[in-house]
Amino acid sequence: MPMEAYSIRTYTVFALLAVGVIMALASLAAGFTYHELSLTLRQSASTETIELQSNNLLRRLEEQTRDLALSIQRSSEFRDALTRRDTAQLEKYLNIQFHQYFVTADVIRLQKIYLYDEYLSFIVQSPEGLQVPAGEEICPGLITRAKRRHGPRRLQPIAEVCVYHEHPFHGIVVPIGGLKVSGYIAIISDPAWILRQIANDLGLPLHISLPNGENIYRSDNWPSATEEDATQLAQYTLHSSIFEPALNLTVAHALRPQDDELATAHLHVFAISAGALLLALLFSLVLLQSRVFLPLRRLHHQVTQGSPDRSTPLELPDTTGCGEIDDLVQAYSRLDGELRDARQVLQSLHFIDDLTELPNRSLFHDRLQQITFLSERNNGSFALLMMDLDRFREINETFGADCGDFLLQQVARRLSQELRKSDTVARLTDHDATRFGSDEFAIILPAIDNAQNAVIVAQKIQRLMEHPYSYADQAISLSMSIGIVIYPEHGTEPQTLLQRADIAMYQAKHQRQGFALYDTASENHSLSQLTMISDLRRAIEHSELHLVFQPKIQLKTLQLAGVEALVRWDHAQRGAIPLHSFIPLAEHTGLIKPLAKWVLAQAAQACVQLHQAGCQIHTAVNISVRNLFDSALPEVISAILDEFSLDSRWLHLELTESAIMSDSSNALRTLDALRQAGIRLVIDDFGTGQSSLATLKKLPVDEIKIDRSFILEMKQDNNDTAIVRSTIDLAHNMNLLVTAEGVDSAEIWRLLAAMGCDMAQGHYIAQAMPLPELLAWIANWRWGCVAGRDGQALQD
């Protein structure tokens, strides 16, 4: 049977409770034992007390009877009668004693008096007292013992308790005649009489009985039969001189008062032990809580809060205050380190794309490097094909990610089947990247010495891909864009080859021609590009760039709603360089990051200046899709906003439609993060891409800018007018603001105003201009700037 798991706390509480119950039972048992013991002790103490008291009383009786004997023998009348052996006189004299004070006052219960001569031979006895058959004597042993003594010892009185006919008697023999003994007198009395005083002396009910049970004396307050249960009896048996049982002396203790006391004591002991137990329980729980449970819980939290891929070390405490837990912490820490090391080893060993089981980007780069070295040594050549699937993102969105995965697997299979074993087919995934969106494949074709052969392979691949794929009873067609480079014709470094294959692939995609060979004719162009790259870098660093701003006007109110910032590059030698020639360059070389940063900072600064000039409007900045791949972008922007103390709502980011439709989850994440930060996102050149308003709905976008081509054509083309109108309506339905670009005439202005377009921008209103001119322009703009919260006013 599986055992249920409880927390240590539960076990501890149970254990402590068990100890407590055992302790309580032990204290109860101790209480009972103590009770029994105390009763036994009291009984034996009582018995001893009776013994002592009865010995005292018998000694007193001995003294009293001795004094009686001495007083008898001192009488000269008696002595004369004794000398004369005048038995009649003696009997008379002895009888008188039964009526003397001692007897009448009940001090002594006299039973018999005997007289003996100096040799202890019987002379006479008192006629009064107990009647004894002729020839018998009470306590005959007493005289026998007296006779056994000789010399001065006979002068000493001798006394004893004897049993005669089952009754106890006390006898004493006292010499007559002082130092010259002329006879002996024996006085027999009833010992039970004086022993009754025990009741008074001890203050307890007393019962005196014969050994055969016959009642001799019973106190008035002796417990009745009904009270016997609540009574403890202590009995002492008085023995005669020859150790026959002579009398039973019993005292009774009422148990109840003592029981009550014991019960109270019991309760106290129990309460104290229970209290001590509770305290101990509480103390140990508090101790355990602070020393064990809390550190354990904290440890559990820390261990579970570690990064899921164990890439960063666990934040574990140095010490918890509990040795065992510290050991555990150390073990965890060691284990964590080992896990991290093992993961690194695993990562370094991971060269296969999980989905397609093709080599991944790492392995591909490795192979590329290898074949580059090899070809360099052998003066050989090879071809590098870079390809990706067209409209893969749309397929993913339409049919789902499972379908996307399926297609990637199918593509991989067809490629592997078609190509030679010696060719390398790889899916360009990073081992730690998410699978989603990576539809790039690359092929190395060794020993291809001219471009024509590579083109043949590319065409073959294209044909291969053209067969529809069957997924869930649907036929899906795919096409690929392939970029081709040849070693050493197009480059000798792997990096250059990859870059140029990429360029060729984009060219192929752009021109929708399926494949493209890297254009050697543009070698010069790319040379000039290289110089431009360094120039651009310098331009960014030395601020050769500057921003111009084009006003955006609210059609309803004619107020200035915002400005779009545009970057201009005035090259020292080449003069003004158009955007479309240096932005792609920046995108390809990674300079786009510093460029965007510079533009954002400048725009933010300008926006602050506009605000200071009393114009509360936004500034829009164009950013590239490459910037969106940079996950640090939101942080860069918020740092800039902080630097200029500018609220995020004053910064708008304009993105091209193709950028926002990019099937990169990284880009989407970045967009979400920007939107979270309160930055408004605008789709630029809307209408030129392949996206629909429906797909737009899913994106974190606030505003669209209808492409100038539609606006410019509105005058001539009714279709375009219809497109613009429906776009405006649809956008409004989706709570999106609409801006029209390229407004260059009053006619278009009026048309747009009639259609309910929110904002307009174009030559008709104002050219893009540097900040000082803009400030002057604003000052002259009759309708002023949008007051209140931007956008809010427009939607109302």
Binding site: L70, R74, P152, L155, Q156, P157, P175, G178
Partner: protein
């Protein structure tokens, strides 16, 4: 004033505390083991003398207050403080008659004193019961109370 009174109170208290110490310091005074010129006897010796010598005179050297506690039957009371040749002569005319002295016990010096007086007076047959009445009573021999 109050402090002084308190101090005065301490003086008798202190003395009370000293009392047991004084008693302890005082050595126990006991009679000599023997007196030259006399015959020392114990209780049994006394009984033996009484039975053997008919004209034995037993002298109780204690003062009358002690005698009231009891005395050996047949003894004559002559406290030591009253004992001299004259008072002795009144009781015993013949200096050869055996004389026996006793008092309370070994711690009692009265019989010793009386014995010395009797010897000085020229009594020749002197017995001394050193254990005295204490020994007599403890051994359970008969005594008389008036």
């Amino acid at each position: 004033m109050i402090a002084q009174r308190r101090f005065l109170l301490f003086v008798p208290l202190g003395l009370l505390l000293l009392l047991p110490a004084l008693g302890w310091a005082d050595p126990e005074i006991k009679s000599p083991e023997a007196i030259p010129g006399t015959t020392k006897v114990d209780a049994e010796g006394v009984i033996d003398l009484v039975n053997r010598i008919n004209n034995l005179k037993i002298v109780d050297a204690r003062i009358s207050a002690d005698r009231k506690q009891g005395y050996i039957e047949g003894s004559v009371s002559l406290p030591d403080i009253e004992t001299d040749c004259t008072s002795l002569g009144k009781i015993i005319t013949d200096k050869n008659i055996p004389l026996l002295f006793y008092c309370n016990g070994v711690k009692c010096g009265r019989s010793v004193k009386s014995v010395h007086v009797a010897l000085q007076c020229g009594y020749t047959n002197v017995y001394w019961f050193r254990g005295g009445f204490e020994e007599w009573k403890n051994k359970g021999y008969p005594f008389v109370k008036d």
